[in-house]
């Protein structure tokens, strides 16, 4: 209804393992322009979290627990997780 709700959406950004250590927390909430992609959100995130410039430009990302690409579109309420290089096995 209110047009302002169309202009930004809110996503939850999660950090794991080395990235959580780097930024000093396991998640933050981030407002991004409606229609923003993962790539845009990562760029914004790197500008606002502590040591964000030490996060990679194009980290491995999951949206709502599925692997996602830089051009994956985000929706309000999405969970975007930044995944350090995997090391299972």
């Amino acid at each position: 209804m209110d047009p302002s709700t169309d202009t930004t959406i809110s996503i939850r950004c999660s950090f794991f393992a080395r990235y959580a250590e780097l930024v000093g927390c396991d998640h933050v909430t981030l407002d991004v322009p409606a229609g923003a992609t993962v790539g845009t959100a990562v760029a914004l995130l790197r500008g606002v979290v502590p040591n964000g410039d030490q996060l990679p430009d194009r980290p491995m990302v999951a949206v709502n627990q599925e692997h996602a690409l830089a051009d994956t579109k985000l929706r309000d309420g999405d969970e975007m997780a930044l995944l350090p290089p995997l090391a299972g096995g």
Partner: protein, 156 residues
């Protein structure tokens, strides 16, 4: 922590993230089938590591919900590719001392070639897709994060 994947592969293929040592014999028992003549197994073990300082243990953590869902997809794809295969896998989390098993994959099929191939497939997929991380704990107490694609550093 235990994911009842067995509901989706009734009586046969199950997967768990566990915090305790992996019971290989139990996984083997789960895939056994009177029509299956070949069982292939892979175990990944925490190794001391010849590269730099000796590793005392590895601390494994996961994005647990997503890891659950990725394991589940891998098993679905494995069964699509090798219909009738029986697959069991467990990945251990937490601190695992050198020499203990971090991951076990067990596959049984009617004939041996498929068992080898499907087992290898599951291992390769899990290394590429499942959000699990490891931090080496060196004997002096120092720690360092390690990725599967770090050059020359893949522990298994």
């Amino acid at each position: 922590m235990k994911w009842p994947f067995c509901r989706r592969w009734p009586g046969a293929s199950v997967a768990f993230l566990v915090n305790e040592p992996i019971a290989i014999a139990e996984l083997v028992r789960r895939v056994s089938d009177p029509e299956h003549g070949g069982t292939a197994t892979f175990m990944g073990t925490v190794r001391r590591g010849p590269d730099d300082g000796p590793v005392a243990a590895i601390e494994y953590t996961a994005y647990e919900g997503m890891a659950e869902s990725e394991f589940s997809k891998i098993l679905d794809q494995t069964l699509e590719r090798w219909p009738g295969a029986r697959v069991a896998l467990q990945h251990r989390l937490g601190r695992i001392p050198t020499g203990e098993v971090s991951v076990a994959v067990v596959v049984s099929t009617p004939h041996r070639a498929q068992a080898f191939e499907a087992c290898r497939y599951v291992v390769e997929e899990l290394k590429q897709r499942v959000p699990i991380w490891k931090q080496e704990v060196l004997e002096g107490g120092a720690t360092r994060w390690r990725g599967n694609r770090d050059s020359g550093q893949d522990v298994t």
